[in-house]
Symmetry: C2
Subunit: 331 residues, 2 copies
DNA sequence: CTGTTAGCGCGTTCAG
DNA sequence: CTGAACGCGCTAACAG
């Protein structure tokens, strides 16, 4: 229960003023060699560590970044969270984690988040409402939406080029001659779902193939499973399914194999999205569009920390990962 | 970029002293009805929200709890994280997330964690070294180890009764007449691995069955897969495998089915641990020992927030969840 | 019951 | 180059 040593203590030991110590640790202002050394030895002596809380109060700028998530149990997000925290820690920043668990929305959480004088906010859930966006601008806190973007052009966004990816999936299905296709989507309003669907259906139209059946609801295994059952009941002739993420896709594969007794890829081919850790398992071997997570994070943090305030959307390309659920073209 | 309203502002609007406002928001001390109302209207007027940072500085006690994790990508931990943050948020507490990514250890992280004047620390990674334990005691910060316990009897711990569970697994295997068994473990030093192994092997010895083959390394799918291949190469007659967690178990199942062409459960039965989200999927249908996560969290937070400082280990019972990888006894 | 005062630990003028 | 002094927003003792 002892108190930590403060700059005042260091100052006393070094026989200088507290202000000098402050200048030393911050590196701002100038100190004589003499004083610098005395302070340094004093700091080592008492093992002084700056108090981030006090610093934040005085600064009005903290070293913590808030992350608002709602989908931690979707296996792709732990990967994201892992990489973000790791990257942030190397930058000397910390992560304050907020869980937007329904019915709690980002809008509800935002005022709370802002109270912590965070350096910035990363949102992987829904997108910013205009109300929350205003709030952030108001308090001068940068926000970046990760894997989705705001329809109202506020804040920063990083996302995969979902439209292009959707088009490519259509091309792949076309390449192997699929005629009856389906799209099993995630949350209808979310930008990534809309874009993946759009790229897919638009390209299918261009190719003059019959429009795919569409069913969308949420990004879960259970939904993928249930949607597959429903879709194939309506149309047993489907031979190619594009799933908006890997959770949905693995659910679809299980439904196909274990409930509908179909073979993947012989009877039905599937393509997912994300390349999350489960997708590569032997039980699934899912062909998928890998999101360039590390690069996305790099871009997100760049905007967050070095952004000029102008809303911006950075689009990165996804990478096709071929596995057995949808074989690669013969080389 | 506007400044937030402070107690001082509220005080000015209400025509009272700032201290009065402080008493109002904290609920401590007494105020006249008169003043109370004036303050309340002033607060609503300017939409005053207390500043947690400033409060922390003044208090020497924060409203944030640190969580130190290293295994976020193991699907059981997102569940834990999700539930902890949710529970904490309802208590008005926030989560500061630290990633002990190798080679960074808990010991390295602890001094950093402590600087944030956190209310407490939850560790799901390794257990406290004596050095770190001392540090926490020194600063009066309570620590609880989640799903593991300290060998040196410092800090709080919540864990499943792993020994009992291990014994029960042995009984189950014995019930169906298995003779050649194996244990695929996680990180050798971790208490939960040691206890699961111990309960299992001890009970097997009591039952006078041949001792199981043992192989342990880490809690991952890949390890489960690799270990299975290696074990069955040495002894193809194995018919029952106990895996220290579900990640290992699902890896083992895939190795069995896809590499070794064995049938589960006809040729080999398996039991895992945790009951993580993947275990219940159609592709695995894993019989497992479910950890009572919610109750564990409840106990963990109870000790963290209301503990008396005495080291304590709370052991909760696991629940057998029967699925097809090891059928339940006929009723 | 209420206001005044003194910190919490640090950054930042502002004189010397 | 350096130290004294003030403020960040809030809590807690202390008088009235």
């Amino acid at each position: 229960m002892k108190k930590a040593f403060t700059q005042k203590d260091v100052a006393k030991f070094a026989g200088v003023s507290q202000a000098a110590v402050s200048r030393f640790v911050s590196g701002k202002g100038s100190l004589s060699e003499e004083v610098r050394n005395r302070i340094l030895t004093a700091i080592n002596l008492v093992d002084y560590k700056p108090d981030p809380i006090a610093r934040n109060l005085s600064n009005r700028q903290s070293d913590i970044v808030a992350i608002v998530m709602a989908n931690i149990t979707n296996p792709w997000y732990p990967v994201v969270l892992e990489l973000i925290t790791r990257r942030l820690q190397t930058l000397g920043l910390q992560v304050l984690l907020f869980n937007a668990t329904p019915p709690q929305t980002v809008d509800d959480l935002m005022p709370l988040v802002l109270r912590y004088r965070v350096r910035g906010v990363i949102i992987t859930t829904a997108s910013l409402s205009s109300k929350s966006a205003e709030l952030c601008v108001h308090w001068g806190v940068p926000v970046v939406m990760f894997n989705r973007y705001a329809t109202l052009g506020a804040g920063y966004s990083v996302s995969c080029d979902n439209i292009a990816a959707g088009r490519k999936v259509a091309d792949e299905f076309h390449r192997i001659g699929a005629q009856e296709m389906a799209y099993i989507g995630g949350i209808p309003e979310v930008s990534n779902n809309r874009d993946r669907k759009r790229g897919f259906t638009e390209r299918i139209a261009e190719l003059r193939i019959r429009p795919p059946m569409i069913s969308e609801k949420e990004y879960t295994y259970d939904w993928g499973y249930a949607a597959t059952l429903a879709l194939f009941k309506k149309n047993p002739a489907i031979t190619a399914v594009f799933c908006a993420d890997d959770e949905i896709a693995t659910g679809a594969i299980d439904a196909l194999r274990f409930a509908l007794k179909k073979k993947v890829p012989e009877d039905v081919v599937l393509i997912g999205f994300d390349d999350h850790p489960i997708a590569s398992r032997a039980a699934y071997q899912l062909t998928t569009v890998r999101q360039p997570v590390e690069e996305m994070i790099e871009q997100a943090l760049d905007m967050l920390l070095n952004g000029n305030g102008e809303p911006e959307l950075r689009l990165l390309e996804g990478e096709f990962i071929y596995r057995s659920s949808m074989p690669a073209p013969a080389a």
